[in-house]
């Protein structure tokens, strides 16, 4: 039972970590978009 639970937990842990990493990339892109927006803002 321990091995089954370990296998199951590992898979979902790995998928969850991957989604978090993709989320971090999205946050970085958002920050870069904001930076460009500030640069092209009239009067900047």
């Amino acid at each position: 039972m321990t091995y089954v639970a370990l296998a199951y937990s590992f898979i979902w842990g790995a998928v969850f970590t991957y989604v978090l990493l993709v989320g971090r990339r999205v946050a970085r892109i958002d920050a870069e978009i904001e930076e460009i927006r500030q640069r092209v803002k009239p009067g900047a």
Binding site: M1, Y3, V4, L6, A7, Y8, F10, I11, W12, A14, V15, Y18, V19, V22, R25, V26, I29, E32, I33, I36, R39, V40
Partner: protein, 234 residues
């Protein structure tokens, strides 16, 4: 229906579908697996099979998709093909890691060792390492890194039939490809349900990851255009 949606709504819809699939995968699959009949010789450890095989299937699918995208990039210079290859290689590494962890857990209970140099195990490890090498070549390969990685993806795809057929060609310890077709009736529903959920989750993750990669490429174009505009105005 998704193709006619505006991009922001499409992302939200994809996210919701992904969330729904993940919840299904997290709660429904283990419930079905728990109620599946016990295998006579292995007992409860055999239930790892319901997660291990879908992950192995996704490792192979990711490699084929990566090779398809790489072919489009190598011969037609297709940037979307290159992005598809990168995203599917990432998913291949993710699900390959799951295969490399769940397999040894099963092996420890079935064979008494976590690892043995059986042809199926060795060729699977090689496939996974090739996908990791693909990512490393792209990241650290310099100017020609993307082309080098694309060529490596083709070699990785050539390994897939070897991985699949190895259990029939060289009878080792690993169960043969006939295991799925010879499943007891009570095991079929949980297995195919698990396979469907994992495959759908893979599709959603790939679509999401592709959107991030597209946004990144678009952002680079905009940043260059802004710098050009600033340079010409000063």
């Amino acid at each position: 229906m998704l193709s006619t949606m505006p991009p922001a709504r499409k992302s939200r819809a994809l996210f919701l579908v992904g969330l729904l699939l993940t919840m299904h995968g997290f709660f429904v699959v283990p419930l079905l697996v728990a109620h599946a009949p016990l295998e006579k010789t292995m007992g409860i450890v055999q239930k790892i099979f319901y997660f291990h095989v879908p992950c192995a299937w996704l490792l192979m699918l990711s490699t084929f998709v990566c090779a398809g995208g790489s072919l489009a990039y190598l011969f037609r210079g297709s940037e979307p093909g290159d992005r598809l290859a990168l995203c599917s290689a990432e998913l291949g590494v993710l699900f390959g890691l799951c295969v490399m962890v769940t397999g040894p857990l099963w092996a420890r209970a079935a064979w008494g060792v976590f690892w043995t140099w059986d042809v199926r195990l060795t060729s699977s490890l090689l496939l996974w390492l090739m996908l990791i090498a693909y990512g490393l070549a792209r990241r650290y390969g310099g100017a020609g890194g993307r082309r080098l990685a694309a060529a490596m993806a083709l070699f990785a795809a050539a390994d897939v039939p070897l991985v699949y057929l190895s259990v029939n060609l060289w009878r080792g310890l690993h169960p043969s490809t006939k295991t799925v077709s010879s499943l007891a009736p009570g095991m079929r529903l949980p297995f195919f349900f698990s396979l469907a959920i994992f495959s759908a989750l893979w599709g959603v993750l790939l679509a999401l990851r592709m959107r991030v990669e597209r946004a990144q490429a678009h952002l680079v174009e905009v940043a260059i255009a802004v710098e050009d505009a600033e340079g010409s105005s000063s």
